[in-house]
Amino acid sequence: MKGYLLRRFIGMVSVLLALSLVVYAIFYIAPSNPAQLACGLKCSPAQVAQVRQRLGLDAPVYLQYARFLEGIFVGRDFSTGTGVMHCNAPCLGISYRTGEQVTSMLATRLPVTASLALGAMVAWLLLGVGTGLVSALRRGRFTERALTTLTLAGNSLPVFIIGLLLLIVFCSVLQWLPFPTYVGLSQDPQQWFWGLLLPWTTLALYESAKYARLTRASMLETLAEDHIRTFRAYGVGERHLITRHALRGALTSVIALSAIDLGTMFGGAVLTESLFGLPGIGRLLVYSVQIVDLPVVVGVTLVTGVFVVFANAVADVLYAVADRRVVLT
């Protein structure tokens, strides 16, 4: 087990290094003129040249990448033209537009995205696994068909349409809720909850379709296996078979998938954040893309990569621990 974890960790780090290289290459080397992008369209060639020098874009490519990595691990200095600005490790660069450190921009947004993702996960697990369980228990009957249809519909609706429909119903027609605005948990927990209620519901409705499908599919898969027949032949009741034997197999996949989804969502639930105006990481990305703020784009991309790769590793380990048939290599 220890060896497995170590190998998994090394693999994770190497994937991240490779990812950083690819991302760096795509965003800083592939564009014909990053200094032009940094400076803006109205800059004169002289200004662009100055920017290029200031950002160190005139150095050889490998040296630029080395400095970039150096910034992440030990921090680095940037000249601002008039003085020197120190960027603490982990330094992901400085915004071309605001001059703010990318790391701190991300840090202020992370709590929003985290609130959204964690709350939504609780909701979608309850909703999704519950639906899947019920439809497996009542398979072939009306309840199951109704749930199946709903799941299919949930799968066919993009998340922003679900959100818009919820907004129309709850904010416009019924007028039960005001248009959600985000308030930090530490500021006012009650406001925080009401502000996130609709975004949570939206994400949960969207994601739970997938989980219901997964739960049901893997439970039915298990129920068709030979060992279920064994227990049936020994007088074990149907309900017991489903809750003890079939659900056990399904939960492994559900937990592993939750870990992955949570990791992905930490990198920004872009659509939900944009729809509800939540100042999270996803919205930061969209905004930075629109104003071509490359360091922020790269920062978000890398941080997302870290979350995703880490979440996948966690999922693999969970899977391996839960299902001992998986050989740890």
Binding site: D226, H227, F231, A233, Y234, G235, V236, G237, H240, D323
Partner: protein
């Protein structure tokens, strides 16, 4: 247990029918079957695949309920009707009165739970015992079936057990509620012959000690000889013949039973004398070795094997699963590259040739595979599959190809007009014939047959073996015949090599190896082979138990 009148039989089945709806119609799996089983008696139900024997066994526990199958006639197991029993009575029937031992012990257990917990779960369903008491009972049952260090091993999950141990665990599960009847559905089919003997001995021991009734369902006549009192032979859902085991196996009355008994290959009967092959060497393997995996996890499947195959000779390779016989066979035709050692074909070293250099030689070294399903491409007609080697060799004349394929089909006993049929339209035996035709197509000098008949019913088996022997004689082929079944190998082989753990432990003419085995492993293998004579079978069991 309620006091049943002694006169009432344990199992009473009359006019049993089992029908499965298929598409628009129904398939009758069992068609009017009657039998009874007295308390503590043992009945063997024998039949080939599709005879309805498993459907019969399942109906005793009412396992068809909720599957859409229709059961007719009357069934009573210890006074309970499995078709109508509900609630507690059904629970008591399943496991309390009658317990089932399934064929494949790996898939028959839940992979997520410890074996002891699974047995305890069954016990608790029946007795409402406390968790702790049930657990103790499970350990006791595991101990009873001969699992060493049962308390510790009960915490293992199924995949950590060997095949034989898992089958023991399943028997422990069957025993835990002390049922009056054990129904064993092909309990040893997935096991090696030595393990099979141990499991049969265990079932026998349990039966004699506890007075439990036994219904043993199997396709293998050898399995029942020493294990049951009465035999019921089934074919197409009906009883063909019934009687005591000595009567049915010793003097079968019905033609079908006789054919079945005759088709069982005998390990003790010398096959008809064969023309002595010349001693001209065709293929020579020297110090062959094959290693899978890398460094720490490396497994040596074949370890320093040397072998010669003479022109026109049949050499049999016998071994249990994992002995490396299949890998050896694949190396001989160079589907697998040896990790070390040499292969000389007609004096030429071929062990190191690369794929391109091998291609001209391919036509002379062919193979017949074990699984008649995966050895034919389901998306291509059998004619196309057989024609493939011809086309690959550059034949372009469609007329000549069709003629040659027709000829080959006829040669292996199939209709030459079946060129355009697809594999799923054929039975296992027919597909195996197609596989043989494909191997013959390029005009080989040597064919490696890897378990060519192990997936087939016993009557089909003997036909395919006959065909191979005939082809070998007529075409002067050299055959390497790989099998786990010692009797089948004896029927066809001039010489026999016994493999174990990647090595050949004994080699000699068939008469030497079978008549006077030298190596203890060979002796053990031969002693474990089931025999048809019940008395002989009992005697062998005695000697096995004595030597254990």
């Amino acid at each position: 247990m309620s006091a049943q009148p002694q006169a009432e039989p344990l199992v009473e089945v009359s006019g049993l029918t089992v029908e499965f709806p298929v598409g628009d119609g129904v398939v009758k799996a069992v068609d009017g079957l009657d039998f009874t089983l007295g308390a503590g008696q043992a009945l063997g139900i024998v039949g080939e695949s599709g005879s309805g024997k498993s459907a019969t066994a399942f109906s005793l526990l009412g396992m068809h309920r909720g599957t859409g199958a229709r059961i007719g006639g009357s069934v009573r197991v210890a006074g309970v009707d499995p078709r109508t029993a509900e609630g507690d009575e059904l629970t008591r029937l399943r496991g309390g009165l009658a317990a089932m031992v399934f064929q494949d012990p790996l898939s028959a257990l839940d992979p997520y739970y410890a074996i002891g917990d699974q047995i305890a779960e069954v016990y608790r369903v029946h007795t409402k015992a406390t968790r702790r008491a049930a657990r103790a009972r499970a350990v006791q049952a595991l101990d009873r079936v001969g699992i060493p260090d049962a308390a510790r091993r009960s915490r293992s999950r199924p995949h950590e057990f060997s095949g034989g141990m898992r089958q023991r665990a399943l028997i422990a599960m069957a025993l835990v509620c002390e049922p009056r009847l054990i129904i064993a559905d092909e309990p040893t089919t997935a096991l090696d012959v030595t393990v099979q003997a141990q499991i049969l001995d265990l079932l026998h021991e349990v039966r004699t000690e506890n007075g439990t009734g036994l219904i043993l369902v199997t396709h293998d006549l050898g399995v029942i000889a020493g294990s049951v009192d009465d035999v019921l032979v089934m074919k197409d859902g009906r009883a063909v013949e019934r009687g005591t085991v000595a009567e049915v196996l010793g003097a079968p009355r019905e033609r079908y039973t006789r054919a079945l008994v005759d088709a069982v290959p005998r390990v003790d009967a010398a096959p008809p004398p064969r023309a002595a092959p010349g001693r001209e060497v065709l293929l020579e393997a020297d110090g062959l070795r094959h290693t899978f995996g890398r460094r720490g996890a490396a497994v040596t499947a074949v370890d320093d094997v040397s072998l010669t195959v003479g022109r026109g000779e049949t050499i049999g390779i016998v071994g249990e699963s994992g002995s490396g016989k299949t890998t050896l066979g694949r190396m001989l035709v160079r589907l697998v590259e040896p990790s070390a050692g040499r292969i000389r074909y007609e004096g030429r070293e071929i062990g190191r040739l690369r794929e391109k250099e091998l291609r001209p030689l391919r036509r002379e070294l062919q193979m017949v595979f074990q699984d008649p399903v995966s050895s034919l491409n389901p998306r291509r007609s059998i004619g196309e599959s057989i024609a493939d080697p011809l086309r690959a060799a550059g034949e372009r004349d469609e007329k000549r190809i069709a003629a040659r394929v027709g000829e080959l089909l006829e040669r292996v006993g199939l209709d030459p007009d079946w060129y355009h049929r697809y594999p799923h339209e054929f039975s296992g035996g027919q597909r195996q014939r197609v596989g043989i035709a494909r191997a013959l197509a390029p005009g080989p000098k040597l064919i490696v047959c890897d378990e060519p008949v192990s997936a087939l019913d016993v009557t089909t088996q003997s036909h395919v073996v006959e065909l191979l022997g005939e082809l070998q004689r007529d075409l002067g082929l050299s055959l390497v015949f790989i099998a786990h079944d010692l009797a089948v190998v004896r029927q066809v082989s001039d010489r026999v090599a016994v493999m174990r753990a990647g090595r050949i432990v004994e080699e000699g003419t068939a008469d030497q190896v079978y008549g006077a085995p030298q190596h203890p492993y060979t002796k053990g293998l031969l002693a474990a082979v089931p025999v048809l004579d019940p008395e002989e079978s009992a005697a062998r069991r005695e000697s096995r138990l004595a030597s254990a």
